[in-house]
Amino acid sequence: MADSGSEDIAVIGNTDLTPSESENNVKNAMVEKGTSLLKKMEISVAEAEKRTGKNAVNMQETYTVYLIETRPVDAASEGTNPVPDSLWRRYSEFELLRNYLLVTYPFLVVPPLPEKRAEFVWHKLSADNMDPDFVERRRVGLENFLLRVASHPDLSSDKIFYSFLTEENGWKETVFETGFQAKADSRLKALNATFRVKNPDKRFAEMKHYGDELQSVISQLLRVRARAADRLYGVYKVHGNYGRVFSEWSAIEKEMGDGLQSAGHHMDAYAASVDDILEEEEHYADQLKEYLFYADALRAVCRKHELTQYELEMAAQDLTSKKQQREELATGTIRTFSLKGVTSKLFGQETPEQREAKLKMLETQIEEGEELVKERNAECEEFVKSAWVDIERFKEQKDHDLREALISYAIMQISMCKKGIQVWNNAKECFSKM
C-alpha cells in the first residue's frame, strides 16, 4: 500500500469497472493520501444490530448499534489474521464525536455523517430508519466517515477519535471532560446571531458561495433523480405484463405458440432486472449525498472564519474607541457624542482625581485590548492559514471523488444498456421463430 499512486488509476479504459471497484479506488486514494493512522490500522464498520433499552427519560426504545472493528495493518499483511478489536457504537455517539471535532477544529472541513433520516427517497425505498436496507446503507456511510477522518492529515491524530475507535466504556465521559460542550454552545449562539463583517475576505466569501451553490445543485439533482427512478421502475415493470399476455396468447396458437411463450419469459426477466439497476443507483445517490453534506461542512468553516474575523474587528473597534476616550479625557475635548459629554456639560466636569482614576482604568483596558487584538489577529491568521490548506485538500478530494462517482455512474448506465440489448435480442430471436 505504501508504493506508488497507481492504484487510483488502475482501470484505464476499463469500462467493466463495477461501482464497488470504483469505490475502492476512492478508499485507496484515502489510504494513499492518508497519514499514520490508516497506514497502521484497518478500520471497518462490520455489522449492525438492533438493541432495546431505556433512554434518558426512562422510556423503552429500540435503536441500532454498529460494530467497529480495528486491526493493525501489519498483522493482516503477515497473514496471521488475528481477531480484530471491536466495540459497538450507536449513531448518537458518532454525532457526539463529530460535534467534538467541529468545535475543536473549526478551521477544518470535517467529514459528514450519513443522513439521519432517509431523504430523497423514491416510492419503493423505505423512509423508515429501521428498514434493513436503510440500516445497511447507513453502516456503509458510517464506515466511510471513519475512514475519511482516519485519512485526514490533522483529524487522524486526534486522541478522542482514537479512543472512539478503541475504548468502548467511558469514552463519552472523556469527551465531555474536554469541556468542548461549553465552547460549542457559545459558538452556536454567536453563529446564530446576525453579524456583518466590515472587510469580508474575498476568498472565503467565494468559497461560501460555492458551498451554497453546490448544496443547492446536489439537492436538485437528488430530487429529480429520485423521480426519474420512480418512472423507470414503472417502465420496466409494465413489460412484465407482456410476459403474462404472451403466455396466455400462446395457448391459443399453434405454430406461433412456442416463440411467444419464450419471448414472454424474457419480458419477465426484463421487468425483474430493474430492481438491481436501481439498487446500484442508490449507491451513486449516496455518494452525491456525502458531498451534499460536505458542502455544508465547507460553509460552516467559512461561517466560522467570518465569526473569527468579526470578533477581531470587534476587539479592534473596541480598542479604537477606548483609545479615543483616553485622548478625549487627556485633552479635555469631546469629539464624539457621549453620555459623559452631555452630563459633564450639564453637571459640570469631573474632578482631576476622578479624571486621573478614569485615565488609569482606560490605560489598563487599552493594554488588555491591545493584547486581545493581537491574540485575535493571530487566531485569525492561524485560522485562515489552516483553513485554506484544508480547503485546498478538500477541493482535490472532491474533484477526485466526484469524478470517480461520475465514471461509476456512466459504467452503471453502460451495464444497464447492455443488459437491455441482451434481453431484447433474446426476445427478438423468439419472435423470429414464431
Binding site: I9, V245, I252, I407
Partner: protein, 449 residues
C-alpha cells in the same frame, strides 16, 4: 369436409361437392355448372369461388390458375409458351406466387376547398392483366374512396374475408388529422389494404377494384346499378335463424377470434401504458440532464465531466423520444387494424351461419314433404352449393389470414424488439464515448499529483 359430413346428416343423402379444387379441365361442368361458371366469370355472382373466378382469355386462364389456398397450379403442360412469356414474372412472393399486379399508395397531398379540407393519395398500378386496358395507372383517391371500395367488396364478395382499413373516425382535438405522422400512418395502412386485395386470387379480379385502380373519376353510383341487376344474391335472414350444427372448424374459428381479440386488446393497453410511462420518464430525464450542466457552470476541473454527463443524458432523451414515437406510429396502428379485421371476419362467419341456416330450412321443408321420392328441387341444391362454396372460400381465406397473421405479428414483434435494441444501442454509444474522456482526465491528474 370433415365437419360437414359428420354433423349434418341431413346433407348425407344429397350429393355433395368436394371442397378440393375441381379444375374446369378435370370436372367437365354439368349444365348447371355452366351457368354458375358463366355467372361467376364477371365476378358478380356469389358463387365466384372454385372455378374460373377471373375474366380471362383462355391462355391466361390456363396459365394463371390458383388454388383457393393460394398455391399456383402447375399448368406447364397446358399453357402456351407465348402466354407465359407475356406474363410479367417477378419473384419476391412468399407463397411462390408470381405477381402480375402491383399497387402502391403514395404521395399524400392536402386539398383545401371552401367546403372542406381533405387528403388524397396517389394510387399507382402496374399490371399485365388483360382485365385492365392499360399496363399502368396513376389516380388520386381519398379515404372515402377506399371506404367505398371496401364496402363494395364486402357486398360483392360476401364469402371472403376483406382486409381492413385504418380507422375511419378520429377524435377531433385529440388527433391532428393533417399531421405528418397521422397521414403517414394512414398511408401505410391504405397501402397494405390495397396490396392485400391485389394479392388475393379472387378479390383482385373484382370489377370495383379494377374501377378503383383505373377510373379517372370514381363514379360511386356504379354500385347501385349492379345491385339491382344481381340475380341470385344471398338473402340475409334477419333474426331468428337456427343452426342445426355449426361445423367444428367454423365454431373453432369463432372461438379463436374471440380469444384473439381479447389478447389484442390487452396488448394494446400494455403498449399504451408503456408509452405513457416512458413519456413520463422522458419528462424527468429532460429535467435531470440540465442540472448537471448548471452544476458544471461553477466547477473548474469537474466542468468537462459534468457537461459530458449532461450531453449523454440529452442523447438518451432523444433516443427514448424516438422509441415512443415509433411505437405510437408503427406498433399501435397495426394492432388496431387487426382488431378491426377480426370484427369484419366475425361478420363473415355470421353470414356463413346464415347461409347454412337458410339451406337447412329449405332442406327441412323438402325432406318432410308428403310426396314420396321427390326430385331434389334445384333451389335446395343451389343453397347447398352456396353453403359449400362459402365454406370453401372462407376456409381458403382463413388459411391465408392465418399465414398473414403469423407473418404480420412476427414482423410487428420483431420490429418492437428492434426498436428497443436500437434505443439501448444509442444510449450505450453515448455513455461509452464518455467514459474514456472521464478517465483520460483522471490519468492526467494522477500524473501531475
Amino acid at each position: 369436409t370433415e365437419g360437414e359430413r359428420g354433423e349434418c346428416n341431413l346433407l348425407a343423402p344429397l350429393r355433395t361437392l368436394t371442397t378440393s379444387v375441381c379444375l374446369p379441365i378435370d370436372c367437365p361442368p354439368s349444365g348447371e355448372r355452366n351457368e354458375a361458371i358463366a355467372a361467376s366469370v364477371d365476378g358478380r355472382h356469389p358463387l365466384s369461388s372454385l372455378y374460373c373466378r377471373k375474366r380471362r382469355t383462355s391462355e391466361t386462364e390456363q396459365a394463371g390458375l390458383i388454388l383457393p389456398n393460394g398455391t399456383p397450379v402447375d399448368t406447364s403442360s397446358l399453357a402456351s409458351s407465348s402466354s407465359l412469356l407475356n406474363r410479367l414474372q417477378l419473384d419476391d412472393d412468399l407463397d411462390g406466387e408470381t405477381r402480375d399486379l402491383f399497387v402502391t399508395v403514395e404521395d399524400p397531398k392536402k386539398h383545401v376547398s371552401t367546403m372542406e379540407t381533405y387528403i388524397t393519395y396517389r394510387v399507382c398500378t402496374k399490371t399485365t392483366r388483360t382485365e385492365f386496358d392499360l399496363p399502368e395507372y396513376s389516380v388520386r383517391r381519398r379515404y372515402q374512396d377506399f371506404d367505398w371500395l371496401r364496402n363494395k367488396l364486402e357486398e360483392s364478395q360476401p364469402t371472403h374475408l376483406i382486409p381492413p382499413l385504418p380507422e375511419k373516425f378520429v377524435m377531433k382535438g385529440v388527433v391532428d388529422r393533417f399531421s405528418e405522422e397521422f397521414v403517414e400512418t394512414r398511408r401505410k395502412a391504405l397501402d397494405k389494404f390495397l396490396k392485400r386485395v391485389a394479392d388475393h386470387p379472387v378479390l383482385s379480379f373484382n370489377e370495383h377494384f379494377n374501377a378503383f385502380l383505373s377510373a379517372k373519376d370514381l363514379n360511386k353510383r356504379q354500385g347501385l346499378a349492379l345491385l339491382t341487376k344481381m340475380g341470385e344474391s344471398v338473402k340475409y335472414v334477419t333474426g331468428g335463424y337456427k343452426l342445426r350444427a355449426r361445423p367444428a372448424e367454423f365454431a373453432a374459428m369463432g372461438d379463436y377470434l374471440d380469444l384473439f381479440t381479447q389478447k389484442m386488446g390487452t396488448i394494446d393497453r400494455i403498449a399504451q401504458r408503456i408509452i405513457k410511462e416512458q413519456s413520463e420518464f422522458l419528462m424527468e430525464l429532460r429535467e435531470y440532464g440540465p442540472v448537471y450542466s448548471s452544476w458544471s457552470s461553477f466547477e473548474e476541473d469537474l466542468h468537462d465531466p459534468l457537461e459530458g454527463v449532461s450531453g449523454c443524458m440529452s442523447n438518451c432523451s432523444s433516443a427514448l423520444e424516438e422509441l415512443t414515437e415509433d411505437m405510437s406510429e408503427d406498433f399501435l396502428p397495426v394492432l388496431r387494424e387487426y382488431v378491426l379485421y377480426i370484427e369484419s371476419m366475425k361478420n363473415v362467419l355470421k353470414k356463413r351461419d346464415q347461409v347454412q341456416a337458410e339451406y337447412e330450412t329449405k332442406l327441412e321443408a323438402v325432406v318432410f314433404r308428403e310426396d314420396k321420392k321427390p326430385p331434389v328441387p334445384s333451389d335446395v341444391e343451389k343453397c347447398q352449393d352456396r353453403v359449400e362454396c362459402f365454406n370453401a372460400d372462407l376456409k381458403a381465406d382463413w388459411d391465408r389470414w392465418e399465414n398473414n397473421k403469423r407473418q404480420d405479428f412476427r414482423q410487428l414483434l420483431t420490429g418492437m424488439a428492434d426498436k428497443n435494441i436500437q434505443h439501448y444501442e444509442k444510449c450505450l454509444a453515448a455513455w461509452e464515448s464518455l467514459v474514456p474522456l472521464l478517465q483520460d482526465k483522471q490519468e492526467a491528474e494522477g500524473e501531475t499529483s
